[in-house]
Symmetry: C2
Subunit: 376 residues, 2 copies
């Protein structure tokens, strides 16, 4: 993996860069659409490419491990071939999903025992086997196995958990070195900073993570319920420590506003289920605020979904039509809204990049944050 | 509307023709995808055009009347504009849906009182108001209001119902003459032959329907549970009476085999929810038989969904991937299967047309019926 810093904003810590892997170039800042179980929900791979156009998408190790299972992915020749996606893929490590399974999992030094949300069967994730699973899935960027702490989190728990995540990181690295690549392209490994919402822990964790000198670094354990201000504070502390010449990935974030604010703090990569999940509930993100398309007020609004026309669906269909699809519980409503929201998220990070390069990022960001905060 | 007979098969009653309306040319035989409530379920209008490519689709008066309601369609400027579909549309009359509401409707000479399947509210359909509703929806081809009898149906009930359908037809025609067009294009009216599975009634009904000299004619009340042989017998009787120089539309039919057999009997137009409904249950139609993609046998079959590649999805995705999407209850599975099945249905009627024109329809039809009867 090659990371090339292209432009740094003078008024903020925002930066524009390119990451180059065997599956192509990733222009940052970037939002990575979430393809949980080898599909970005409701969106064809062709639409993803042609309408939304991300350089990289995300898959979930936990979900893919359970379905279709790693042996099927191995027989397919990896996730890229299985789902017919020839650009970059990043897989998370399953840490976050395991955290979400509270009550159905037990975390120990050795690893995490958990029950499948599908059939209740028992499984065991360790730093070692999660590296092997990610070798088999075959993403371009793979993540360390970590514990994601909840919010709020007791200081002592957060500290102990962080240290365990650091010990797990060493085990991940040791095991990866012994685990050969499965396919004919490289995989890059990102460790994850933890430390809950405690500045001193975040600092300590960022220093430790930086010290392993991975090719890129991630910030985990945020966007789990804490106020946005606390998130920004943590990102700021961590980004000031993580090396500048490597990509920074803030996991699971967030709203369009969260994304812009974190770009301003030096984050390069994002992922979140929000654009697709909210789309399926009829919530649209636009440059001028959010729309609840289920509201009766759109019933006879025959104007385009979004006159900006970022994706084809934005101008092909009217608000009244999209509202009708939601009122009638028609699949096409979710499909259209998903394309719209992802198109908007990718537009947003592309625009951020343009403005960083043009040197007027901060003004633009402040204007956008103000605009996007409205409900239409 | 203009109907041009282009080619007649010598060995069967199959024919190839073109129908020209203000929304373009319809090459027959044709299968019309069903867009119940202003959407072909799970399929974008752009995919419908580019991948499936039908000259005409169908909307359901009953469903559109309830949602989005006729006033919204009127404000939109008709169904074409509302759903962004600039090719032909045919609307049924609601007769079939009302028939399906058994227990929630009361049929009288004046019309049908029924309860909405959505909120239980009471509504009244008459031949007159159904014509007005269809004027407002604004389809290119609109249907008479009829009673669709169940199968089996007592002879006396079938006869009385048929006579009522004939009386309703007169009321439809009288009222249409008094009801001006709402939009800047023409609408063509098709009456419907009824008579259950009784040859003498079908004959009588076909003669009556032919006598009103409409621009096209439809056959209703079939594909409601009767054996295929009885359906073919009825189609045969009716097609021998309905005028040759006008299109013949067999409503609600059917399997790919039903379609080919009825083309051989002189039918030009078809519609059915089967390709999309079965798709959503994981059943794929192919030229070599049907596939239940949920079966474990496809789990590691990485060959294309359909090597014939009629639509892009057929070769973009593997059987194993599609099976995984169904196993994981992912929307994309239903989307892919719907495009595949509709693409196949449209391919089938286009091929039928080619073979009618080439003069080898019967041999091809017999081969296809044999092939498609398999389970893969």
């Amino acid at each position: 993996m090659k990371f090339q810093l292209e432009s740094k904003d003078i008024q903020s810590k925002a930066r524009a860069a390119t990451i180059t892997t065997d599956h192509g170039v990733i222009e940052t800042p970037i939002f990575m659409p979430v393809g949980t179980v080898a599909t970005v929900k409701g969106v064809h791979q062709s639409e993803l490419k042609e309408q939304i156009n991300p350089d990289i998408i995300l898959g979930n190790t936990y979900h893919l491990y359970l379905r279709p299972k790693t042996d099927i992915l191995e027989q397919a020749g990896g996730l890229h071939k299985f789902m017919n996606w020839d650009r970059n893929i990043l897989t998370d490590s399953g840490g976050y999903q395991v955290y979400s399974l509270s009550g159905r999992r037990k975390i120990k030094e050795e690893g995490v025992k958990f029950k499948s949300h599908i059939d209740g069967s028992t499984h065991f994730f360790t730093p070692e086997n999660v590296m092997e699973i990610q070798r088999t899935i075959g993403a371009d960027i793979i993540m360390a196995f970590d514990e994601c702490t909840p919010y709020p989190c007791e200081y002592n728990y957060a500290r102990n958990s962080m240290h365990m995540t650091h010990r797990w990181l060493k085990r991940c690295i040791n095991h990866l070195e012994k685990t050969p690549l499965k396919y004919d392209y490289n995989q890059t490994f990102f460790p994850i900073v933890q430390g809950s919402t405690y500045k001193d822990l975040r600092k300590q964790s960022a220093e430790f993570i930086a010290s392993v000198e991975a090719e890129g670094n991630a910030i985990g354990g945020l966007s789990v319920g804490e106020p946005a201000e606390e998130m920004y504070e943590m990102t700021d502390v961590v980004c000031s420590i993580l090396p500048e010449d490597k990509p920074r990935y803030l996991m699971g974030v967030g709203t369009p506003i969260n994304i812009l604010e974190n770009i301003a703090l030096g984050v390069d990569m994002f992922d979140c289920v929000m654009p697709t999940r909210n789309a399926r509930n009829g919530m649209l993100f636009t440059a001028h605020g959010t729309i609840n398309i289920k509201n009766k007020k759109w019933e006879n609004d025959f104007s385009p979904i979004d006159p900006m026309g970022i994706t084809d669906v934005d101008t092909q269909y009217s608000k009244a039509y999209l509202r009708h699809l939601f009122a009638s519980k028609e699949m096409l409503g979710k499909q259209i809204a998903s394309i719209h929201n992802l198109g908007f998220y990718l537009w947003l990070t592309r625009e951020a990049r343009k403005h960083i390069i043009a040197g007027d990022f901060l003004d633009w960001k402040n204007k956008m944050v103000h605009q996007m905060n409205k409900r239409l």
